[in-house]
Symmetry: D2
Amino acid sequence: MATRTDTGRGHGRRNLLAGAAATMTAGAAASASGATTATPPRATGRPMPDMERPFALPEARRVGYAVVGLGKLTLDELLGAFAASRRSRIAALVSGDRAKAERVADRIGLDHRHLYDYAGFDRIGDDPTVDAVFVVLPNGLHAEYTVRAFRAGKHVLCEKPMANTPEECEAMIRAGRDAGRRLMIAYRQRFEPHGLAARGLIEAGRLGRVRLVTSDHHRHLDPRDPSDQWRTDRMLAGGGSLVDIGLYSLQAARMMTGEEPVGVSAAISSDRDDPRFRAVEDMVQFSLRFPSGALAHLSSSYTGSRLKRIEVLGTEATATLDPGTEYRGNRLRLRREQEVTELPASGQEQFSAEIDHMSECILGDRAPRTPGEEGLRDVRLMRAIYAAAEAGRWLTLRPDGSHEG
Amino acid sequence: MATRTDTGRGHGRRNLLAGAAATMTAGAAASASGATTATPPRATGRPMPDMERPFALPEARRVGYAVVGLGKLTLDELLGAFAASRRSRIAALVSGDRAKAERVADRIGLDHRHLYDYAGFDRIGDDPTVDAVFVVLPNGLHAEYTVRAFRAGKHVLCEKPMANTPEECEAMIRAGRDAGRRLMIAYRQRFEPHGLAARGLIEAGRLGRVRLVTSDHHRHLDPRDPSDQWRTDRMLAGGGSLVDIGLYSLQAARMMTGEEPVGVSAAISSDRDDPRFRAVEDMVQFSLRFPSGALAHLSSSYTGSRLKRIEVLGTEATATLDPGTEYRGNRLRLRREQEVTELPASGQEQFSAEIDHMSECILGDRAPRTPGEEGLRDVRLMRAIYAAAEAGRWLTLRPDGSHEG
Amino acid sequence: MATRTDTGRGHGRRNLLAGAAATMTAGAAASASGATTATPPRATGRPMPDMERPFALPEARRVGYAVVGLGKLTLDELLGAFAASRRSRIAALVSGDRAKAERVADRIGLDHRHLYDYAGFDRIGDDPTVDAVFVVLPNGLHAEYTVRAFRAGKHVLCEKPMANTPEECEAMIRAGRDAGRRLMIAYRQRFEPHGLAARGLIEAGRLGRVRLVTSDHHRHLDPRDPSDQWRTDRMLAGGGSLVDIGLYSLQAARMMTGEEPVGVSAAISSDRDDPRFRAVEDMVQFSLRFPSGALAHLSSSYTGSRLKRIEVLGTEATATLDPGTEYRGNRLRLRREQEVTELPASGQEQFSAEIDHMSECILGDRAPRTPGEEGLRDVRLMRAIYAAAEAGRWLTLRPDGSHEG
Amino acid sequence: MATRTDTGRGHGRRNLLAGAAATMTAGAAASASGATTATPPRATGRPMPDMERPFALPEARRVGYAVVGLGKLTLDELLGAFAASRRSRIAALVSGDRAKAERVADRIGLDHRHLYDYAGFDRIGDDPTVDAVFVVLPNGLHAEYTVRAFRAGKHVLCEKPMANTPEECEAMIRAGRDAGRRLMIAYRQRFEPHGLAARGLIEAGRLGRVRLVTSDHHRHLDPRDPSDQWRTDRMLAGGGSLVDIGLYSLQAARMMTGEEPVGVSAAISSDRDDPRFRAVEDMVQFSLRFPSGALAHLSSSYTGSRLKRIEVLGTEATATLDPGTEYRGNRLRLRREQEVTELPASGQEQFSAEIDHMSECILGDRAPRTPGEEGLRDVRLMRAIYAAAEAGRWLTLRPDGSHEG
């Protein structure tokens, strides 16, 4: 993809390591092709398991990303996800903290020429090793950096929620269209193996008809944790627990029913004496109606103890993901009457699967599973949830996720 | 460690990526140092969590390994483990299949100059990027390649079981001593977070006095799986299920009691009409006595359905690892009377922790946790187990793991 | 088998057996009083564990019940519950099926003189062995038989829901007051050991502040099951899944928060083409607001697969009852962060505990834990739930459970 | 409460209550016969579920038992079990503590004429209401009271272990044969629903071939608990943890394999400084070989924390009963590869099922599932276990459970 200019120094393939390894461990179920295994005397010939499918690309052919924002998510999860990816690599870092950026660059073997600060961000347009920009900034900055990235001619993978308002989302989509570049919203949940396995059970009819989805996402917001401080700033966060983690509950309901909601009711409960909740809400509870008659009741808060649970009640069986959206350690159980089966789920780790999906879409010129329109729909739905709580009644939802009245 | 001569080509730091990522995700509990976080206008300053401790080394300072054997374990697990390591890198590959070696090398960005076949293996002595050799060959070849590696002046990390006989083990230890190089046996189990957590509970007195350890390791040996075919060849395998997976049960008993056994009884059950069990045994059951009065009953087979279970019964509580020695997905439960608590365990992934431990020992000139003497002891104990089964009686064990009579 | 010769004497105490046994097994935790245990030569003297507290009454002093309705609940659960009770006995049976009544009477050793049909029900006023009436009829008949029982001078234990309308409930309460007799609504859930244990955890502060209660009760209504057929008859049932099993969700929310709701929103989803749901609803989803800021989202249906789940989210921990309201086999788990502990709960079986509670109130002249006022409040709340679903908006609830507007 | 006026008549049927109730709740799976359900106007006609099969006998036709020994097991479990039985009733009590016996008799409505002390025990031969004797005494008294009971012309249900020596067992069997009466050993484990369900899975081939059974039974022996004090007296107990709870492990191995062992090895570990273990052993570990090649490793102790676990490893799947032999709260899980299913098990409660089985055998003149020969075999096997520990080698077992050499 990238028209490299630095391939002459012979290390283009260097950091393929992680990707290759990931490939092999990920799909290590079937394997054992009839590969030629000319074995040395006395040594055993073992086949090459799964190395080809889905194969990891050599570095020179991987999609290069400029990661914007070196916060906790980037440092704790995304660097590792790139290391374990098959089609993706970090081509540049964007941070306001030069020293930190240099340290990270040294760690991942990135030349300092590929470090940018926010002011100089637009210069990435001149960096041919960068194919796409991964926006990992506070929500309120998503629109600005996405638009600037498109203007620089890059594709964009943007963290969820897409932006603070539908208008921002629309501007982002428009900018991508104008630039002829892909836009994907980073819903890792759509790539989590247990959730995908649950969705697979539903599609296979193992649950019967879906009647109800419940999902609760709660965690403590610690005002002393620097990585959480921006979340109580309305300009940066755009909302409280709903936009941060309630969005997982919302996605779960849409993903598991496979439908778009037609009605919404909600309630908000925040202690206004708590300094955390002066600008953004604490607990949100919302209910959705779907065309099939399925319902969902969903919630999030910043004061409840850690809970990341999804349950799908069908006419024949119930699937429970508890936890369902942790970074790791998720579990899937299927219940039929009083028989409960724990089902293992395997597959590529969710963050690297998400990034690789974007890369595959760029390489194959295809629309991503979660394009800007998906992010926009959720932003509209969250706006409708707030409106329903404000109105104190059920609101009718339009096909595009916006509400009537 | 390695006195590099190839640093001039400027890619020494290239594949640091994976290691850096692993560092950050691994210990992501505490964090939030008072690091300067000069943040750009409007962007948030998030601290650099855990990047320093335990920090990942830049590639040039990492320990370089020649991985000998490109079988399933190497391809499915070890390549990924190196990618996620902090102090280790792959510096060379040794394989009898040149084409396969080249494909793997391309994947991990390794120059083909660092590929060796078995005949030319001894030339690694001239490769300054190689600090240590990781022997991942059938058991019967461990001694030969370990000794050759020491003669080439390299340290050795050798897969378990250490070798087929105590005599081979002694030769390996002697060769290392003569060469002034470190020898470690690759017991990943000693680095598995849930097992370590269980051991931590025991040391903290949470179980009271340990009275009994039970551990059962069983799996199907599929004669059609090329990666398992050598396991029925006595010369290559040295034994059946005991040396392959029963060794986990044996290690569990020693690790959890913290004692060395003084008595052993055993029984073997193999269907000699089954072509798999003409040369090696199927099921082994063995019991151990420890000085404190603790007992262990342990087993392994190649015909039982998949089971990898360890249970430690104390006077106050019981710790159950079920599964306990899977590559991933292990679980730890603590039972006191009828109250059962599932305990999360976190920490560096077992394979990369194992490899990094060897690297730390090399870098710090320290003895590894599982030196050759540990491997030798287990080989002696396994010999005693076979002897006890043959004798049909309890045998007395000497402090070095060998048996009397 | 036994050829009795001793039938002529006063065996008023005959069927004390069950009660005594239940007493002893139920609270078998503490025990070992300093009871004199003069043991025979060579035999061991074991103390008398727990036989005294809470002791079982001899039959003549137990409260005698006329059980009205010999349906599935009576036959499958209540007869056994009386057998295991400590203060209660069956003194009469009321049924429209004489042959069935006689068979049951023979089984439990009840003289046929204590059998009544519905027409002759009022004659129980003349039966001095009957202290109380247990109304186990379809909901629509609760009011009539309760009022008739009070007029006959008996106390009343009435199955939930109390009645179809608040007006009926009020008439029942009035009749009891006029008669000077006790009225209790049979909420077995309030006597279920795991639920009580969860409530105990909350009261002990183990969960922190309660923020959210979720509870889902679902089951298949099988139109071929005679014991369920009346449930689709609006006159007899008074409603659909809400009044039948959604009431458990409602009770859970009130019981676990320890508060009365101040707002309600709801939605109903029924397939009107399904003959089961022409007169009564299938799925109901409802949300409650509590004065403390706690919320609840709750549901029930007749089409979802079997689910009887209660979860209480606090600021410090989460208690999960799953299942929570089965007749047996309920389980309680406490989660703090990612540590999940299964807690055993013991105590008197819920049905017999419920019946004995009524007996204790009668014997001690005390108000029951779930008097008519409790049943009335729930009936009002359920009316409010239907009204909220109809109105499509949040309704304000008055302290007595009725809704404004 | 009730001022009875009806005490003068034939209440032979009085305490049928418990049995009837138990019948109904126990098998409440299928049901719904075509029973006539003539329903009254407005009331619903519900069928009579499961009342007939297996029906509870009226009291006069039940088997009457003299319960010998009013210790903890009798008081906490057996009285309740009789109350919940369908074919059994308590006809007499035998105790050295007259006051205690009278209190229990009053509780269960038993005339004091049916109370016996140990000296007068033989007079039960003149009590026509007593059909059988249930011996619930310390192990060392089993033989004496069983023989005396047979001489009195009664059938005998005797607690496990059958006796302290094979010779005593043989005398018991002979006495029964001479008297023409039935002898059953009270192995409740053979009636426990989860264990039976596991055995059913095995017989249905769900586990493949059984390769290994492991079972561990451990508990604290508290010397301050009067009900446990006799267990450290060798004359009364006959052995330590093996005969008390290790017997469950032994039974599990025989029950789950469906085979008789042909070889045994064992080890004993007791702290002789602990006053509890001067006369009887603490921990026993024993291993068995079966003709099919299956093995078992089994254990028991009086110092390990509470554990009552059985695991059956087959070639296709593993069944885990954990706990497996608690009085209540047992659980069954089936594992295939990494998929674990919890299976509910239902059926008559184990103690009452055990007693009713004896009654059915008496009523139908059939041999019980666990006759004296079964108890004798276990006593021989336990003797062989002690002998194997003593000998320090594998001993060969004869078909009758005794050992060679």
